[in-house]
Homo-oligomer: 204 residues x 2
């Protein structure tokens, strides 16, 4: 399998981290959405939405959207539960991540980290993203005060998805001291067998 | 089963529409996020995120997030395919809907429809939402020029999820004449056996 993505993107880190946790081989193809590569005809033929990450299967087919890739790769492993209700809880967190977490915490991080985006970081926008991101972290804190992992007693792709940008929440301007259960959960994720940091890529 | 939601919300319409298509009985409990009901302790005990829709199972457990509810209700029916790659394509559209479609088209609709949100409808914001929503509609148009349904040859929960706000895109200020394949697909959805419009609720 081949994963097209950027080493410094949390969304692209998600499938790399899951593959590391599962101990599965894959090829990382560095593909940037900031230098125009994802808008070339060649790339758009692979993924009409023009975004990364993108998973290429051994048969040449593609799967886009980071959390759809996690569900595909995790199916049949301990990272995607078999019980219908447990699965639904995992799905719930994955949609929460894309709707309530990533558009605030990842976007605020990008406005701080990438100089070409700095002009978009108006005080009003940064304040709005701070408030909405803190709400998302509070939802995680409430759950993680009750269970060690987001979907309950065992780690799942929900933890992989939400780890990606929560680990960088400090860089994005959020104070994780206000969310001690989230901070403890970040440490638990880092201790999972096979864990690799965001800058990791396999030696092909 | 019981679905908490608002009759005029597209996100809440999604599970109602799927239940109608599947011909399954359920109870609709009108629950508004605009009158404070979803922020009461009683509701927050059911759904800590304080949002609708919310599915209550017969055993008293809950599932939140509209698209997670669709996957739960659709599992084992023709609306969620069994093949792993076909499932991944459905998941891809569901995440696309929550990340690239709903935050533009549904939000622009809400800024037009609800007087209490009108002060947020600045010209810059409305222009940005128009551009981003048109990009999402263009992605759908590309797919629907190739296949009758978003995930291929058969209708799926991806069509249910994306129908909810696309049907109201005109109200939100988008010109569907520019997306003829999307317009044709809306008509196909309306012809599905069991189809019901957004203001429908079952007689309990």
């Amino acid at each position: 399998m081949r994963i097209y993505g950027m080493l410094d993107s949390g969304n692209c880190y998600k499938p790399r981290l899951l593959m590391a946790l599962l101990g599965r081989p894959f090829e990382h193809v560095e593909t940037s959405s900031r230098d125009g590569t994802t808008r070339t005809p060649g790339y758009l033929a692979k993924n009409p939405i023009g975004k990364v990450p993108l998973l290429e299967l051994d048969d040449g087919r593609f799967i886009a959207e980071s959390n759809a890739i996690l569900l595909y790769l995790g199916e049949g492993t301990r990272y995607v539960p078999a019980d219908p209700h447990d699965r639904a809880v995992v799905h719930q967190w994955l949609f929460f991540e894309q709707y309530s977490h990533e558009p605030n915490i990842a976007v605020r991080r990008s406005l701080i980290v990438y100089p070409e985006r700095a002009h978009l970081a108006t005080p009003e926008r940064m304040a709005g993203l701070l408030e909405a991101g803190n709400k998302a972290l509070a939802v995680m804190e409430t759950q993680l005060a009750k269970t060690p992992w987001l979907a309950g007693a065992a780690p799942s792709v929900a933890d992989v998805a939400l780890f990606a940008y929560t680990q960088d929440a400090g860089l994005a301007g959020y104070d994780l001291n206000a969310f001690p259960h989230v901070a403890g959960w970040l440490d638990r994720v880092r201790l999972l067998d096979g864990f690799r940091g965001m800058d990791w890529q396999p030696t092909n």
